[in-house]
């Protein structure tokens, strides 16, 4: 297992390189210079899912009661605290960081190691922060869309963010036994997939091109997560998206 310092150093270095293409621009869901590679990787991941993960998740869903699935989701959400807390600080949100800390303590000690989300009852909602978002708040552009093996949709920036998350993450802090890490990760992955069986099926049904569907949804969603922090939640405001009359040049960087 690589050391935390090495991961952090790699992340900082890569972020510095990426910041060369800084600039807070609206999302470009069709900007995909690595599409050839990405489509192959997407195809590979999809086959793994269809023949490997999804059947396992269906079995899991059949055997494991709903309550237990919920509890596991809460447990793994709670385990993200070491990632959420520093990233809140790095994004200049000390108040949110304190809320995350309170939530983690309540859920760990009262919520029986995080299996019960007691903090939500007190209005402390689970937070969703990661290093990729922090880099976005720091005005680092996402760069090209990138489909990672096994991990799925990402971007040049967010892939760097994943290294940051790993460095901050719980496993590198306390648990150095690989079997525990691998086992826990496997349970998390299968359980999460089981909770999303219907969503994924709907998305495949609703799309004419599932690859483009996922790419667009990923880019929009990341933009929204980062933009919430910057502007207090104006959400997506792509110029010309809602313009019926002017169609010319609606996409910057369109190569048609």
């Amino acid at each position: 297992m690589p050391s935390r310092a090495a991961l952090l150093a790699a992340a900082v270095l890569a972020a510095a390189l990426l910041s060369a293409c800084a600039g807070h621009k609206p999302p470009q869901p069709d900007y995909d210079p690595w599409e050839g590679f990405n489509r192959k990787m997407f195809w590979f991941n999809d086959k793994l899912d269809v023949y490997g993960l999804e059947p396992v998740a269906r079995g899991w869903n059949f055997v494991v009661p709903n309550r237990v699935q919920h509890a596991l989701t809460h447990f793994f959400t709670n385990l993200r605290f070491p990632i959420v807390f520093p990233n809140n600080l790095l994004q200049g949100k000390p108040h949110a960081a304190l809320e995350a800390l309170a939530s983690f303590q309540i859920n760990t000690f009262i919520g029986l190691l995080g299996f019960f989300d007691v903090a939500s009852e007190f209005g402390l909602k689970p937070q969703d922060e990661d290093t990729g978002q922090t880099l976005g708040v720091w005005d680092i552009a996402p760069g090209p869309y990138l489909v990672l093996p096994l991990l799925g949709p990402s971007s040049a920036r967010d892939a760097v963010g994943l290294a940051g998350d790993a460095a901050f993450g719980f496993y590198t802090y306390f648990i150095t036994v690989p079997y525990v890490t691998i086992g826990a990760t496997a349970i998390n992955v299968v359980n999460t997939r089981a909770r999303n069986l219907e969503t994924v099926r709907n998305a495949k049904d609703a799309s004419l091109d599932f690859y483009t569907f996922v790419r667009n949804a990923y880019v929009q969603r990341r933009w929204k997560q980062i933009n919430d922090t910057i502007s207090g939640g104006t959400g997506l405001e792509e110029e010309n998206l809602y313009n019926e009359e002017i169609y010319e040049n609606y996409l910057e960087g369109d190569t048609q």
Partner: protein
């Protein structure tokens, strides 16, 4: 006698006019009075009872909700936004065909969710003024609190005095933007006919699809 009749007919005519004007005024007032939030709220209030009705079959529910959704949405505008500049590559008959098939596609794919309704409720959080005179209504679908709730925004535009939905944004993902990305690729590679054919194929297979069992709330 003759004179009498004339006066009555005149009286009836003028009262009919008055009644007509009154109706028009009421209708106009109603259309203007319904703010975007009220439109979305009304939509939820119409749809939720249908979903909860145990006496209705899946197909009946789907049909009724489809009618309500068609009323609430401006499919002509949605079609233009989704095709963007490609809209002009479509002949007027292709435009009509696309609009019909796209509508069908949304109905078939989203209508299937009727079966998985599990007492979710809609909460209106507020609204936001947007460019072009649009208004976005912010809502949340309540599914037990915390991360389970889903944030859904509806963007509305006024057409002939009535607010109609032109986009649905789920957890920050705009439906218009998403379909635009997909259709852009298809039209630039295969032209308008390719897109219409693909939609038809998808709709045909979707209608015969056997619904898969619940994946547990």
């Amino acid at each position: 006698m003759k004179r009498f009749t004339r006066t009555t007919s005149r009286a009836t005519r003028s009262s009919a006019w008055a009644a007509g004007l009154l109706v028009l005024a009421l209708a106009g007032a109603r259309a203007e009075d319904r703010t975007p939030s009220q439109v979305v709220d009304g939509l939820a209030n119409q749809v939720v009872p249908i979903l909860q009705d145990k006496n209705l079959g899946t197909d009946q529910k789907r049909e009724r909700i489809e009618q309500i959704a068609y009323q609430a949405m401006d499919f002509n505008t949605i079609s233009k936004l989704v095709l963007a500049r490609n809209w002009t590559k479509f002949s007027s008959s292709q435009q009509g065909e696309f609009e019909a098939e796209f509508k069908r596609h949304l109905s078939v794919t989203y209508g299937r969710n009727v079966e998985s309704y599990n007492n979710e409720r809609v909460q209106i959080l507020g609204d936001r003024q947007e460019g072009r005179g649009d208004v976005t209504v912010l809502t949340k679908i309540l599914r037990g609190g915390g991360n389970a709730d889903v944030v859904v925004d509806y963007r509305l535009r006024q057409r002939d005095g009535q607010w109609k939905i032109i986009d649905v944004i789920v957890e920050g993902v705009s439906m218009v933007s998403n379909f635009r990305s997909q259709f852009q690729d298809i039209v630039s590679n295969g032209g308008p006919d390719r897109l219409i054919t693909l939609l038809k194929e998808k709709n045909a297979s979707g209608e015969t699809l056997v619904p898969t069992p619940h994946s547990g709330g």
